[in-house]
């Protein structure tokens, strides 16, 4: 389908979402070209999560258009959205692993249930193991989510988001509530997925540190570590920061532009974490 080069994986056009009493998004427009990275920041309740859910078709905008791989999903019926969703990975804020399923079953879930993913049943176990090894959780297959720590749950959820190898992945606050060391591990995993599989990546975060990492570092496959990106200027220009405030997009730019911003609201997110 519409996947020629040049079609951006995600484009918002004047998207508004109005809940009774609160406008969660107001005329938000942006575009994410293939292979690029976007960092969403903003205060709690600013509309970051809603923006991701709109991108997946989980929340229907009241006005505006949302193009996912070139297709306007606001016109699609729920049944037809499943095909699009199988090409978009999502890490939910609190992991959203299914309590009643083991880690293995959780990670296998998209392979088994997404009709557009044609994964032969005999390959499921192998791919699940690979995804769990990718996040270094190979030993937890039989465990239930409640038996894992917060950081491990987050990693298992990343495994579930990447197991189908979608070209676009949305990460909602992947490091919220984690200690700095675990948070670093999580961002490194996101970077690994981005750089090994060339995934278009959107990450919601309130830590400047995380954005900085994604903007200026890359995953080195040879050593398996995070290293400074060589053509830093080039990598940095492929990473943009988007600031949300009360449903509006109030900032869009590179890290250099973010650092130079004089807007008081935007500066809060730079200074705090310096």
């Amino acid at each position: 389908m519409a996947r020629e080069n040049g079609t951006p994986p995600l484009r918002f056009e004047r998207v508004s979402v109005n809940f009774p009493g609160v406008d969660a998004l107001r005329e938000v427009s942006f575009e994410v070209p293939a292979g690029e990275t976007r960092i969403f920041f903003g205060a709690a309740g600013a509309g970051k999560t809603i923006a991701l859910k709109v991108a997946l078709g989980l929340v229907r905008p009241d006005s505006g258009s949302v193009f996912v791989f070139g297709e306007d999903i606001t016109k699609l019926k729920e049944q037809d959205l499943f095909e699009i969703r199988s090409r978009v990975g999502m890490l939910f804020q609190e992991s959203a692993l299914f309590d009643s399923l083991t880690i293995e079953e959780n990670v296998a879930y998209p392979l088994v249930n997404q009709k557009a993913i044609h994964c032969p049943p005999e390959e499921v176990a192998q791919r699940v193991r690979e995804a769990l090894e990718f996040v270094e959780l190979g030993h937890t297959l039989e465990k239930f989510p409640s038996e894992l720590s917060g950081g491990m749950r987050r990693r298992a959820a990343i495994a579930r988001a990447v197991v189908t190898n979608p070209p676009l992945i949305l990460y909602d606050s992947p490091t919220a509530g984690l200690d700095p060391v675990t948070a670093h591990t999580i961002v490194a995993l996101i970077m690994k997925q981005r750089d090994l599989r060339r995934t278009t990546t959107i990450m919601v975060t309130h830590r400047y540190q995380n954005g900085n990492l994604l903007a200026n570092y890359r995953f080195d496959a040879a050593t398996g570590t995070v290293v400074p990106a060589k053509g830093v200027a080039e990598t940095a220009s492929r990473t943009k920061f988007l600031g949300f405030r009360e449903g509006q997009l109030v900032f869009e730019g590179t890290q250099a532009e973010l650092d130079a911003s004089t807007d008081n609201y935007v500066r809060k997110f730079v200074k705090h974490n310096g």
Binding site: K53, L58, E78, F82, R85, L97, F98, A116
Partner: protein
Amino acid sequence: MDFLKKWVLDVQEFVLLSGRAIANVFRRPLYVDDIIVQMDLIGVGSLPIVLMTGFFSGAVMALQMSRALAQYGQVERTGQVVAITLVRELGPVLTALMVAGRNSSGMASEIGSMKVTEQIDAMRALGTDPIKKLVTPRVVATATVLPLLTIIADFTGMIGGFVISYYLLNLTPLQYWTSVWQSLEYNDVGQGLIKPFMFAFAISLVGCFYGLRTTGGTQGVGRATTQAVVVASVLVFFLTFFITKIFVGSVT
């Protein structure tokens, strides 16, 4: 006015959910495993409490009615009164109330917790329709199991009535069971089985409805649970009134 509008919208939402849940029964895939798990949860899980309420309601009916019947010298017809009230009304309603208390709340809290932890969203994101995966199996399971539970409750109720009749009212087993058997007509059995079938839809759909619309974290889950039990119980009485009205109307 706003209150009325909200109420109408809620009812509309409920009707829509019901329609989709029931339509899904006829669409692939049907999650048979989930149906069996739910049947076990509702059926086997509710059995002890249904046996208890059934037995004691039969026993109490026998005790109460025997006094009234004694005034006319008709104590030997105790079995008849017990059987008719149980099969027509007490069996279906009491069983439904027990299952509403256990399972409407269970469904609301389980689905509600999934809602507030974004598991419902995750389900949709990963290729399953939550109505098909969560609601339809619960509706099918309840609609299968509740009539069976009701039959069991009716029967244990008759045994409860028999224990009282035999030991306290000094009726012979033959007297009691003959009057039970002779009193029941097809009409009674008909409404005794249609009622639990209809109640099953109300109980399961209300539980799922409140679960799916849960907002506001763990507090919201508590609220959804309470609302589900209250609304399901009221609906049971509402439905039994109308079904009875239809049946009584058709007889006379």
